[in-house]
Amino acid sequence: DTEVTQTPKHLVMGMTNKKSLKCEQHMGHRAMYWYKQKAKKPPELMFVYSYEKLSINESVPSRFSPECPNSSLLNLHLHALQPEDSALYLCASSPTSQISGANVLTFGAGSRLTVL
């Protein structure tokens, strides 16, 4: 299995809802990432988990709450989002967080979030 699987593919939520995005990989990778991508823009890093511990938080608002229950799973809990949070949320993984030729990021297809 060489894929990063993200669910759901599409999510529509109201500003008062609580929802979660899920990401799963079975490549034995120990680093997992959340990126946010607005239309016609590049991916922007949100969080990095290394060995199930949060190692980077790019000053993301607390209405986004990441969780890494085990080495294969990464969640992004969403609460009280704003319409401007509507975007494609990409999950990625790599063997370790030391990015190099041996540690290329593999991306999932993303979860497209619309906040009404």
């Binding site: 590049p42 922007e44 190692s55 990409l90 030391q98 297809a109």
Partner: protein, 112 residues
Amino acid sequence: GESVGLHLPTLSVQEGDNSIINCAYSNSASDYFIWYKQESGKGPQFIIDIRSNMDKRQGQRVTVLLNKTVKHLSLQIAATQPGDSAVYFCAAHVQGAQKLVFGQGTRLTINP
């Protein structure tokens, strides 16, 4: 920090021609660079990478060139095919950091 910029937001080429997509970076401590391809409705897909101790690397129909003097890299796609239509991002890694910084992206369109 690092900022990465692409020279052209869009590029249109004839099928069968070669495509060249350019990218500039700002931080001389950037030690590793990757080109990603993103098709509509999909996540970025790795194409080719290059370390800062190299100036050229070739893959299947793709070549990446790195000029550290002017902080510039390019992606060359030979004999462009309809399946090459996508947005192409360059990304740079700064030595010691745990993250990639992505450029703005170039949309490549193939004309029949």
